[in-house]
């Protein structure tokens, strides 16, 4: 048999995995791979301007399409630049394969030029990682990496690939997954346990479904909708779960938690049964844990046994794939109507709706709602940065389909949104893609504008420009006597720094500054027509706050509602 190089084996495996897009950045020890990939037509390589941009783009691609995102970086600084992106994907369970070049295997451990121990650095933030020391192991490693990334609770897998392994040759041997003795992602749930949930639903007077990102990851949105509608149970979601259940359905309570709707928080606090699906009762959701849903029995469906009873005591755990479990549960339930419970909820909805001051000032909530109104009958993906912008995007856009919100939930990574939006647009070219951004966050990966311009990727960046690191400023306003330490990024009121319009133009992109409410629609219309990326720089009310808000450490019944 003929021998082929490590780089050729890797490419053969990438093709077998049907990889179509790779995001990355070169360097000395990855040239052998770059060189071979250069002539592979089936795989399009996107050269970002920073490795962090590459991994967030791969992540956005994965979230938008459901496929495994792939990125490549060189050793040393190239590899360490991936770290934030790996952690971002890890906390949100996003399937990624990150490939890093490594120094010659004979030099590993010598503090060689651009050598870092990537396997060591990324051990706690990957689902699994590999250092490939022998070209004979490479095919097997790549096969396992993709399998591990996409199955069970998905996550990022890193492959560290020394330069000599890329050029060494061996006979290609078909890899097999049988070697993974320690990895059996549980798939079907225990029928007895599922039956218990069905019984609990039957008995419950005030049940609530609390759905997380797993619904989207496992494609269980249809099953969820069926369950909720048939048993007449209201649904609240986490940030990651937005889009798992249509928010325009009367059963929807929107998002819960720190910046969730008042009615979602009141409903879960008053519930007698919580059906948690792929959500992990994180502190941003539960608030003060000992006062969380005091009278509720908890049923928890999750692929990951380590999520069960981690933060709250679970009464009915079911471990397995959410889609399969919900399918089975749906065969056990009977039709229900819960008038009294819905009466309570509609009181809360009436009394405490999501609201803001809808005057003639330019307010961020209005911008988000307008974007929704103008695009709701089209396929849209909303990526976000982090901060107030992310929360306004979560609250005021109405998500009705899965994979329409691309946002860093677990890590809350500023600078995530723009590269992720580029990746999402590449994965879903037919969708309109927005990045809802803050003026602080957008400066963290703005360099990727070059990629968007040169590759003609028409992503619309909506900067909610308040001149502040607004979310931190909000905390300072409320809890630190308005002492705005370290949070003024735009300079004094009236100064423009940077000038985002000129910044856009310097890349060859379109930039529009909007200062008046009446210009919002016109600017969005113009952005929708553009063939390349656009920055819409909305100069919003500087000290607008995100409400409702549960102060950290407080029970989620104790919401601040603001002035509106």
């Amino acid at each position: 048999m003929t021998k082929i190089t490590g780089a050729e084996i890797l490419i053969k495996m990438l093709l077998e995995e049907k990889v179509k897009h790779i995001f990355g950045y070169p360097g000395g020890v990855i040239i052998p791979l770059a060189d071979k990939l250069y002539s592979v037509e089936e795989i399009k390589f996107h050269l970002t301007r920073h490795e962090q941009g590459a991994i967030h783009a791969a992540d956005g691609y994965a979230r938008a399409t459901g496929e495994v995102g792939v990125c490549i970086a060189t050793s040393g600084p190239g590899a360490t630049n991936l770290v934030t992106g790996i952690a971002t994907a890890h906390l949100d369970s996003i399937p990624l394969v990150a490939i890093t070049g490594q120094v010659n295997s004979s030099l590993i451990g010598n503090d060689a030029f651009q050598e870092v121990d990537m396997v060591g650095i990324t051990r706690p933030i990957t689902k699994h990682n590999y250092l490939v020391k022998d070209v004979k192991d490479l095919a097997q490693v790549v096969k396992e990496a993709f399998h591990i990334a996409r199955t069970g609770r998905p996550g990022p897998v890193l492959i560290d690939l020394p330069v000599d392994v890329q050029v060494n040759t061996t006979e290609f041997k078909e890899p097999s997954l049988r070697k993974l003795k320690g990895y059996n992602p549980t798939c079907t749930g225990h029928s007895g346990q599922i039956k218990k949930i069905a019984k609990a639903i039957e008995k419950s007077k005030r049940p609530i479904i609390y759905a997380g990102g797993v619904i989207i990851l496992s494609g269980a949105d249809k099953e969820l909708t069926r369950l909720a509608r048939k048993t007449d149970i209201p649904v609240t979601t986490t940030l990651m779960g937005l889009g798992a259940f249509p928010e325009d359905d009367p059963l929807s309570l929107g998002m819960l938690g720190m910046h969730g709707t008042a009615y979602a928080n009141h409903a879960i606090q008053s519930s007698d049964l919580i059906i948690a699906i792929g959500a992990r009762f994180d502190d941003r959701v539960t608030g003060r844990i000992d006062e969380f849903a005091p009278n509720a029995k908890v049923a928890h469906i999750d692929v990951d046994p380590s999520s069960i009873s981690k933060n709250v005591q679970v009464d009915i755990p079911v471990i397995g794939d959410a889609k399969a479990i919900l399918k089975e549960l749906n065969t056990m339930i009977t039709k229900k109507e819960r008038e009294e419970w819905h009466k309570m909820i509609s009181e809360w909805k009436k009394e405490l709706p999501l609201k803001y001051k809808d005057d003639d000032k330019l307010r961020p909530q209005y911008i988000i709602e307008t974007i929704h109104d103008m695009t709701k009958d089209k396929e849209v993906i909303i990526a976000t940065e982090v901060g107030q912008n992310q929360m306004w995007a979560a609250q005021h856009y109405t998500y009705t389909k899965p994979r329409t919100l691309v946002s860093s939930g677990g890590l809350g990574t500023m600078g995530y949104g723009f590269p992720a939006a580029i990746g999402a647009k590449i994965g879903k070219p037919e969708a309109i893609v927005f990045d809802i951004a803050g003026d602080g966050s957008i400066q963290m990966n703005i360099q990727e504008m070059a990629v968007a311009v040169l590759e003609k990727i028409p992503v619309i960046i909506v900067i909610l420009n308040n001149g502040y690191l607004g979310m931190v400023r909000q905390w300072q306003e409320l809890f630190y006597d308005k002492r705005y330490a370290w949070t003024v990024v735009g300079g004094e009121k009236g100064t423009v720094c940077p000038d985002f319009v000129k910044l856009a133009e310097s890349f060859g992109a379109k930039g529009i500054r909007i200062e008046k409410k009446e210009d919002v629609k016109k600017s969005i219309k113009e952005a929708l027509k553009a063939k390349g990326p656009v920055i819409l720089d909305f100069v919003i009310e500087r000290e607008e706050n995100v409400f409702p808000m549960v102060p950290a450490g407080k029970s989620i019944s104790e919401m601040l509602h603001g002035l509106a």
């Binding site: 396997v119 706690p124 699994h128 320690g182 990895y183 380590s306």
Partner: protein, 161 residues
């Protein structure tokens, strides 16, 4: 915090030890002892880990251990019958023949063995469960212990009721 004994079957590969140990260190748990060796299958190793931990957090660690791709199975041997063994070497002060004879006599009453005789010291070897090891240490302590080295416990579940 109480002591727990975990038996962890893992792939016999580089890097596995660091992954396993990392789960304990990330939570600030001190591993009291850890013994690793190949099993009947050369592709797998068994780690016996003795750790002082908070029970609730250890529950989480066990689940996290199970999640590691290279971990094949995790057994908690803390409760229930298991056979636990450890080997210890103790170097005891023996400055003259008189003391030496005394130590030899004392050690003779146990199952331990003198495995090295130096000019000013004796080295005693013992293997057994926690009690046996502890008893020997106390027995020779009055003579002055120079050094102790222990393998860490290895353990298997007992099949007899």
């Amino acid at each position: 915090m109480s002591k727990f004994v975990l038996s962890v079957l893992v792939e016999n590969k580089f890097g596995v030890l660091a992954r396993v140990a990392g789960l304990f260190s990330a939570r600030g748990f001190n591993i009291t002892s850890l013994a690793v060796g190949e099993t009947e299958d050369p592709d797998t190793s068994r780690m016996t880990i003795v750790v002082a931990a908070d029970e609730k957090i250890l529950e989480q660690v066990k689940k996290q251990l199970n999640k590691l791709i290279d971990v094949i199975s995790v057994q908690d041997l803390t409760e229930g019958e298991h056979i636990g063994r450890e080997l210890i070497l103790i170097k005891v002060k023996a400055p003259d023949t008189k003391v030496r004879e005394k130590i030899v006599k004392v050690v003779d009453t146990t199952g331990a063995e003198i495995v090295d005789v130096g000019k000013k010291s004796l080295t005693v070897e013992e293997s057994g469960d926690d009690h046996v090891i502890k008893a020997l240490v106390e027995l020779v302590r009055p003579y002055g212990i120079l050094e102790i080295v222990r393998t860490g416990k290895i353990a298997l579940r007992s099949d007899s009721e």
